[in-house]
Each structure stands twice: as structure tokens, then as C-alpha cells.
């Protein structure tokens, strides 16, 4: 059983590398796998912007069909401006350098979302910033945050390993309560364990809107290490792409502001925050209007007017459009699978080669396996010999394949 399968896999890889090196126009129609490979052959094909982002990092990005989050929305806007489609390569950004090594620098994508200007190196250029992100003070709506002095004698949740932790470690008279995540910070606020939480603004704003009914006021701060602009990272040699991105970002300012609102990013003038800032100086910066923008209805209304394509009736980030319902019975789906996929994945998906054994999907990808399977079928993994099928199979077909795969998962 394994021999023909290996041979076919090898053929697909050869085809892929040939088309990368060569014409890129060869698009055999008779053989579905080679046609699919031809559609996705490297960086120069018009129509595809290869994007790298973190698969599990809302509100910034989330792998799924379609991709979600601020970065995905901005990528969508920019790509469509450049008459391209974004195509994602997901890599967790748990360690920044490792992530860059395995994504942008390894050639797995051309646009990495996102990095501050300070992250530019000999190898990496950063586009014009498209957004400012910052830490934020989360507290009851009446709490007027003016400087660190406002936190005196308060119990303050602060996130491990972040600049506010260092800042508060140096300040006097503030009782800190260390949390590992923004979610934990908001929960400790909700339970009354703390009076104030000093958290990462985008997460705090998003979670506040998503899970806590926007009950808190989220005030952005600025100061050393507390805020940054962010842009799209590209390889330093891709200066053409960089220019195109810069132009697109300039043109898209109003739409990107809409994305910020959609994800309930903290808004308003940031409050200067540092060890020695007096309350008076900081108060000057704090205009009363700064606290008004996170209300639920406003988020939704702005979203609807400025970002119609993804407008939703609530603040929730637009849910993925429901995939089409499957049309085949399990038995028919099995037969469909065997006709299209079995030459590499073995009849009934029972490949003896571990990497190709589709019975293991749910073990490997847990509750995300359906998303992963859908994306992989559509986009392929040419470096491993898996062709792209999106030009050949419809969403309906893919759902039918999933009907069969569902029945054979080993848990």
C-alpha cells in the first residue's frame, strides 16, 4: 500500500519545486494535484499575500476559516487593496525570535503581523505603523486614573513578566497581585480580589467587551515600555513589498480605525505613567472624553458604518460564516474521500505513515482539528507534498470530507 502513495507524494513535491524554479504558469488541468500545486508556487504569483500570524492570540489573530482578529482584518484590508488574497502560515509567537526564524526568515510567509518599529534588524524591515497598542488601567467606571499616585493603597493586579510589573515593583505603597494572563486579571477584579488591574490594553479591552459586558473602564497609558506603534514586518530585501504595504496602510487609515473599534481596543488619550510623574501633569493629558469609547453599542454602531463587510450586531468579533452543511451520508463521504484523497492518505484514511494518518487529527489538533483540516485541504502544505485543493474542491466538498473524517478519529 505504501509504495504508490510515496511515489505520488514525491511527484507532487517535484512538481512544486519545478514550478517555483520555472515558469509558474504551468497549470496542468488533467491532474488535479498538479493543477493545485501550480496555483501556489512561491511568492511571486499575483493574488496571494502570504501572511504569518499567531494562531491563538485574540484579539490579534486566530486561526480559523476565515481567520479572525485585528491582524487578520488588517491583512484582509491590505491584501484586498493590493488585489491579493491573504494566505496564512500560523506560528505561535510564544518566543518572538524563534517565531521569526521559523516564519518570515524561513520564507514561509512575506508579511509578519505584527512588530514594533524597534524590532527592525538587518534582516527585517517594518512598515509604517498602523496602530498604537499600550498597557491600560482597568477599574470601575468612576475611577479617575491620573498617575501612579492614583494607585496608592490600592490592590493592583499586574501581569507576570510585563513592564507594569517592573514599574510597580519600584513604586511605594502599592500592593500587587501577580496574575499570568489578562483574563486572570479581569477575573480577580471581578471577584473583588483587587481594586484595579494594570493589564495589556488590547486584551483587557477585548475581554471586557466579550466577557464582562464592558463593565469596566479601560484607560490606556503611555510611558517607557508601556506603549508602542506596530507595523507589518517583511524581509529586509523585500523593499517593493514594503512600499506597497506603506501606501496601502496610508490609504486604509479610516478602515483600520474601524478594526480597532470592532475589537474594543482602549481608546482616548493615554495617561502618562512613570515613577516620578506628578498627578497634576498627568491630569492635563487626561481629557474627560477619553473614557467613553468602549461602550458596547458604540463599538457595534461604528463597526457597522465603517467596516460594513464584517459588521455584526454585537461587539463580538464577527463569527466565521457558517460552513455549508454537508450533503453526503457517511458512506458516500467515505467514497468521495477515497476517490480524491486515498492515493496519498490510503483507503479510508488509514495510512501506515504516521504523518499522513488522518485518524490522528483530533489527537494532534484537539478541538481545532476541523479548522486545521479545512485550511490544510484548501491551502495545502506544498513543502510536505500536500497540494492545494481550493480550486478543485468546493467548501461543500470539504465539509463532506470532514463528515467521513469525523467517523474515524482515534481518541
Amino acid at each position: 500500500m505504501t509504495k504508490p502513495c510515496r511515489a505520488l507524494g514525491f511527484a507532487a513535491i517535484v512538481l512544486a519545486s519545478m514550478s517555483i524554479m520555472g515558469a509558474g504558469t504551468a497549470r496542468a488541468i488533467a491532474d488535479p494535484s498538479s493543477a493545485a500545486v501550480g496555483a501556489r508556487d512561491g511568492t511571486n504569483i499575483n493574488g496571494v499575500m502570504r501572511v504569518c500570524a499567531d494562531p491563538d492570540d485574540l484579539p490579534f489573530s486566530h486561526a480559523g476559516t476565515p481567520a479572525q482578529g485585528i491582524y487578520a482584518d488588517v491583512a484582509e484590508l491590505v491584501a484586498s487593496r493590493l488585489e491579493m488574497q491573504p494566505e496564512y502560515y500560523w506560528w505561535l509567537s510564544v518566543a518572538q525570535k524563534k517565531a521569526l526564524r521559523n516564519t518570515l526568515l524561513a520564507g514561509n510567509c512575506d508579511a509578519y503581523f505584527a512588530l514594533p518599529p524597534s524590532a527592525a534588524t538587518r534582516q527585517i524591515s517594518i512598515s509604517k505603523p498602523f496602530m498604537t497598542v499600550s498597557y491600560a488601567i482597568v477599574a470601575d467606571r468612576g475611577f479617575a486614573y491620573q498617575s501612579l499616585t492614583s494607585l496608592r493603597d490600592k490592590r493592583v493586579a499586574v501581569q507576570f513578566g510585563t513592564p507594569p510589573q517592573i514599574l510597580l515593583a519600584q513604586a511605594e505603597g502599592i500592593k500587587t497581585f501577580t496574575v499570568r494572563t489578562s483574563k486572570e486579571g479581569l477575573e480577580s477584579l471581578s471577584h473583588g480580589d483587587v481594586d484595579v488591574a494594570f493589564l495589556w490594553g488590547p486584551e483587557a479591552g477585548y475581554l471586557n467587551a466579550q466577557r464582562f459586558n464592558s463593565q469596566w473602564q479601560v484607560t490606556p497609558v503611555k510611558g517607557e515600555g508601556l506603549q508602542t506603534e506596530i507595523g507589518i514586518a517583511v524581509r529586509a530585501e523585500d523593499q517593493d513589498l514594503l512600499q506597497k504595504l506603506n501606501t496601502a496602510l496610508d490609504d486604509l487609515k479610516p478602515q483600520i480605525e474601524g478594526v480597532s473599534r470592532k475589537y474594543a481596543m482602549p481608546a482616548g488619550a493615554p495617561v502618562q505613567t512613570a515613577l516620578n510623574d506628578s498627578g497634576a501633569a498627568a491630569a492635563e493629558l487626561a481629557k474627560p472624553t477619553q473614557f467613553e469609547t468602549t461602550s458596547e453599542t458604540k463599538v457595534a454602531a461604528d463597526d457597522a458604518s465603517q467596516h460594513a463587510a464584517t459588521a455584526a450586531p454585537t461587539t463580538a468579533p464577527s463569527a466565521a460564516p457558517a460552513p455549508p452543511a454537508p450533503t453526503l451520508s457517511v458512506e458516500e463521504a467515505r467514497s468521495f474521500f477515497n476517490n480524491h484523497c486515498s492515493h496519498c492518505h490510503a483507503p479510508n484514511a488509514q495510512s501506515p505513515i504516521q504523518e499522513r494518518d488522518l485518524r490522528r487529527l483530533s489527537k494532534r489538533y484537539k478541538d481545532k482539528w476541523r479548522d486545521v483540516a479545512t485550511t490544510t485541504i484548501k491551502k495545502g502544505r506544498t513543502e510536505l507534498g500536500m497540494p492545494t485543493w481550493e480550486d478543485i474542491l468546493t467548501d461543500q466538498d470539504i465539509q463532506n470530507v470532514l463528515v467521513f473524517l469525523e467517523t474515524i478519529q482515534k481518541n
Binding site: 492570540d57 489573530s61 524563534k98 517565531a99 526564524r101 507576570f160 499570568r180 486584551e203 489538533y365
Partner: protein, 561 residues
């Protein structure tokens, strides 16, 4: 004449088998539960080692940082590959014929949570079961005969950056494991599992809870996210019924969160980070501790293996633990109570501290915080760098010669205050470091023979590249080790002279082992160059990568028939 010689040989072999049962097997990671990596197998000697040849080899099926130390029980050799492990093999130790292979399904994202590469250092074997720690922070028990999974227990959530890369310690029916992590405020722990069921028996946090003894050594509530991960292997003394583990650096990196931002550390030593802890395997209770690097600011993990010896101390034979710490000091501790008996720099150029005060057990840090990185203050030319005077690659101890053979490193660093990494869409704090500085003398590593009684160098083979492989010592006066260039060498233990070498085609990090089956001695070593270490060493890393490609194979050697 010929006949006579073969007759003598046969009786010598029989004698060996009869007198040295321990010489036959390699039952645990470090050769014995005291991690000495010393074997009494005596067929391979200085006189015949030059004739060593490959008996068989095994492809491990995964590239990238293969660091497995095989275990041999009966005639079966157990070895793992990197990446999960992707494969655990049970093979016939004489022929290399595979008995079974276990290839666990691991979540696809583990690579992205493994801070320091996707390695596996091997298995533990006991009572017909094979125990393997996995990158997804599970420990699995397999049937030693069939490789069939008997149970699997999740120790911690790998998605917080906690992976398991080292085999557990087995004490009777208790399986003890730690785990890695720390960047996200993971609190270290040792966990005891029931060997039959995998059920958790006890869990001992390696930093104190609020109000517990030791909590006064932490500022605010910092202990609950304080690190002290016990991610490497433990040692076990059956006579004292104590299990010993080293613990990692303190978290977060910024010392000011955990205490004072200076060498004047006051009460804030941050127990039990960068320490050895002795625990009772029956209940996990900490019996004693000794801290190598109080209030760490250099990332000097205290995890290196703890090697047992009985040394004459003031005329009395004393059970000791020897450890060559990352911080560049060689420690001799009383194994019964953790009392510091002696300590000395085992590499040149150690400059973060001038000595260890024998009375207090504390390092005497270089004056004026000169070598202590502080918030927004860079300390330059700190030696050793964060990889340490020695990394995890194990040393060995020859009790006949009373010598330790240490794979040393010779690198220095600049380290400074605050570097912000923007990851997962957030600023996190890291230290900004430059690790690419060669230490004094220009060599970057090498094997050093060390007298642990006099605390003195006996010989030193310098290595022009870092990450020299771990060592094996034999009663026949040999030392075996590999290096980044793929050379696997046999040295004369008294002089360090190379007696034989073989190129494995890829770098060797892990120490070799030796065992005897049906009267024949074998030497085995896993080759597969480190991939993550070059990534942080700049131009030095480029030379490591250029030296050999990645690989993944076990080589087994024998004397010609």
C-alpha cells in the same frame, strides 16, 4: 601460545561476569542512581581500544538535537529520538534488531512551546515498565516487552511553556518527574506518580506558598510565579532514602520583582531557585536544600546532574554530592544534610563571584554590582555566560582514580536591564544579552579532569567549539566522549591523551554508555548535533552549524571478534 592466550581470555571474561553484575547493564540514565557514569566493564582497555569498530547502528527517525542516553536492561537497549520523542525504541543490545517502537501522537504545536529545543534525554526502566517524559508534559508508562502504552498522565499544561525532556527518577513504586518552563511565570514542582496506575501521589512546589517557610525570601507575592523548575534528572540514595534534584533560575528575569536589585540581597534569596533540594520520595517533603546562586540574575540554572561519591573529608569517608554548576563553581556537599564541604571555580575566568564562603555557603559576589545585571544597567564580560561553565551534558566520576571528567564551556556574556520582546501581541520582559564572547584563552569548551578532593585540575583537553559532549568513565582507565564536530573519542583517563576516535558525521552532545551482553562489552552513543544552541551564539553558532549537519543515530561499538 595462541591456545593459551584464548584460554586466559575466556577465564577473564567469566571472572568479569561473576564478579561485576553491575557491569552488565546500564539500568538508569546516569549508569547508577548516583549519576556517576562509571562502569566496571573491563574488556575494553587502553591496550585494545584502538581496535573498536561499529557493531551496529540505529537510525532514530528524527533530526535536531538528539540527546538520548540509552538504558540497557537484560539484553534490551532502550533509546529515544528527539521531537516528542518521535520514537522510543527497544532493541536487542547485541544485534540492534528492533523489538518494538513507540511513536506517540503529540500535539502539533509542542515545538512552539519548547523553549530550548525538542529534545528527549531517554527513558527510565523498572519492573517491566518503561517510563518516558514527553514534550506535551505527559509521562507515559509502556510495557517493556511490547511497547504498549499502559498509562499516560498529564503533569502540567505544556501550553504554558512547560515541556518534559528528561526521564523520571524511579524509587520503588514511585515515579518522580519535574518539568520545564518558567517564562510565563510557571512555578516549579516535583511530582510523584504511582508506577502501576500513573496516579499522582504527591506534588511538591519548588517555591514556597504564602506563609510557608522560605516565603520570606521573596518580595511580595513573587514566589507564586518564581520558577525553580526541576527539568533535568534526579539522583537517588537508597541508604538515606533521599531523592535529589537541581532547580532552575528564578523568574522573572528582573530581580527587582523578587527582591533587591543589587548584590546586597538581604532576605531575598528566592528559595528554592538555583538550588539542590533533597526530598523524601515517599511523600515529596523537602528534607534539606542548598542554594548555589541566591537571587539569581544571570540565568544560572542549578539543574546540572548531582553525582555521588564517598570522599575522604578531614580523614573521614563521607557520602557527598558533586556538582559542576553553571555558575562556574564545583561544589562538594554532604549528601546527608546539604552542608557545603568545599567549592572552587572549575573553569578559568569565573568573575561574577570571587569565591563561595564556606561558613555561610553564600557566593561572594564581585564588588559594586560590577558583574550583576541590573534594571537598565548593563554588566559586561560576565563569565561564564548563561550556558554556564558546564551545561546539562553529564560528567562522569572514576572512584578508583577519584577524578571527575567534566565537559566544560568557556563563554562569557554582556547582559543588561530591560529588553522588551513583542510577542503574542504584548510586551514581555527579557534580558538583552550577548552570549557570543569567547572566554579567556580563546578555546570555547573541552573536557577537564578534576580532582574533587583537592578541587584542582589534573588535565584539560581544549575544544575550539563549545558544547563538548558528556563523558563516560570505565574502570580500565578510559574516558569516552563526543564533540560538535562528530568525533567520538576514547581518552586515557590519567593523561587525557586520545587513544581512538571515530567520526559519527553529526555532532554529539550526550554522554556514551557501556554494557555487556553474553560476555561481550559494547559502547553506545547517540549522535545528532544540537540545533538550538547555535541559534543563540551568533558567529560561534555559525561555526557549530558548519561543523556538521543535523542527524539522529545511535552507534554501538565493539572489539573485533
Amino acid at each position: 601460545m595462541l591456545k593459551l592466550r584464548s584460554y586466559i581470555c575466556i577465564s577473564a571474561c567469566c571472572l568479569t561476569m561473576a564478579t561485576a553484575q553491575a557491569a552488565n547493564e546500564w539500568p538508569v540514565y546516569g549508569g547508577d542512581s548516583g549519576n556517576t557514569r562509571f562502569s566496571k566493564a573491563d574488556q575494553i582497555t587502553a591496550a585494545n581500544v584502538s581496535k573498536l569498530q561499529v557493531a551496529w547502528s540505529l537510525q532514530l527517525g528524527a533530526l535536531r538535537s538528539n540527546e538520548s542516553s540509552p538504558v540497557v536492561v537484560g539484553d534490551t537497549l532502550y533509546v529515544t529520538s528527539s521531537f516528542g520523542p518521535k520514537n522510543v525504541f527497544a532493541v536487542n543490545g547485541k544485534t540492534g534488531v528492533v523489538k518494538w517502537r513507540y511513536s506517540p501522537d503529540l500535539p502539533k504545536d509542542v515545538d512552539q512551546f519548547a523553549c530550548c529545543d525538542v529534545n528527549s534525554r531517554g527513558v527510565a526502566v523498572s519492573n517491566g515498565k518503561v517510563f518516558v517524559g514527553q514534550l506535551d508534559a505527559n509521562v507515559a508508562a509502556l510495557d517493556a516487552e511490547t511497547g504498549k502504552e499502559i498509562w499516560k498522565t498529564q503533569i502540567v499544561d505544556y501550553q504554558q511553556g512547560s515541556v518534559i525532556t528528561s526521564p523520571p527518577t524511579v524509587v520503588g513504586k514511585t515515579i518522580i518527574t519535574g518539568f520545564g518552563g518558567g517564562e510565563y511565570g510557571v512555578r516549579g514542582a516535583l511530582v510523584g506518580l504511582d508506577a502501576d496506575t500513573g496516579k499522582e501521589l504527591w506534588r511538591t512546589n519548588t517555591t514556597p506558598g504564602a506563609g510557608e517557610p522560605g516565603s520570606e525570601t521573596w518580595k511580595g507575592d513573587s514566589a507564586k510565579n518564581g520558577g525553580a523548575l526541576a527539568w533535568y534528572v534526579g539522583s537517588y540514595d537508597p541508604a538515606l532514602n533521599l531523592v535529589y534534584y537541581g532547580t532552575s533560575n528564578a523568574a522573572p528575569w528582573a530581580a527587582i520583582v523578587r527582591g533587591n536589585d543589587s548584590s546586597d540581597i538581604g532576605p531575598y534569596t528566592n528559595l528554592y531557585t538555583a538550588s539542590v533540594i533533597a526530598i523524601n520520595p515517599d511523600n515529596g517533603k523537602i528534607t534539606w536544600h542548598y542554594q548555589f546562586t541566591p537571587h539569581d540574575a544571570w540565568d544560572y540554572d542549578g539543574v546540572n546532574e548531582l553525582v555521588f561519591a564517598d570522599l575522604p573529608i578531614d580523614g573521614t569517608k563521607t557520602p557527598v554530592i558533586m556538582q559542576a554548576d553553571r555558575n562556574g563553581f564545583f561544589y562538594v556537599l554532604d549528601r546527608r544534610n546539604g552542608k557545603l564541604l568545599s567549592s572552587k571555580q572549575f573553569i578559568e575566568g569565573v568573575n561574577w563571584a570571587t569565591s563561595i564562603d564556606l561558613k555561610t555557603g553564600r557566593p561572594v559576589e564581585t564588588a559594586n554590582n560590577e558583574k550583576r545585571p541590573q534594571l537598565k544597567k548593563k554588566a559586561v564580560d560576565i563569565c561564564p555566560n548563561l550556558l554556564g561553565g558546564k551545561n546539562w551534558m553529564p560528567m562522569s566520576y572514576n572512584p578508583d582514580l577519584q577524578l571527575v571528567f567534566i565537559p566544560t564551556l568557556n563563554l562569557c556574556m554582556d547582559m543588561e536591564g530591560l529588553e522588551q520582546e513583542y510577542k503574542r501581541g504584548t510586551f514581555y520582559l527579557g534580558s538583552n544579552f550577548d552570549l557570543t564572547k569567547a572566554g579567556p584563552g580563546g578555546h570555547l569548551g573541552g573536557v577537564k579532569a578534576w580532582d574533587p578532593i583537592k578541587q584542582k585540575e589534573v588535565w584539560f583537553n581544549k575544544d575550539e567549539l563549545p558544547y563538548t559532549g558528556g563523558t563516560l568513565a570505565t574502570s580500565t582507565g578510559l574516558v569516552f566522549h563526543g564533540d560538535v564536530k562528530g568525533w567520538f573519542k576514547a581518552l586515557d583517563a590519567k593523561s587525557g591523551k586520545t587513544l581512538w576516535q571515530f567520526n559519527a558525521g553529526t555532532g554529539i552532545s550526550q554522554a556514551p554508555i557501556t554494557y555487556t551482553i553474553e560476555g561481550k562489552q559494547y559502547v553506545a552513543v547517540v549522535a545528532g548535533r544540537t540545533a538550538s544552541i547555535p541559534a543563540i551564539l551568533g558567529p560561534i553558532g555559525e561555526r557549530m552549524v558548519a561543523a556538521t549537519p543535523e542527524g539522529g543515530a545511535l552507534f554501538v561499538f565493539e572489539l573485533p571478534k
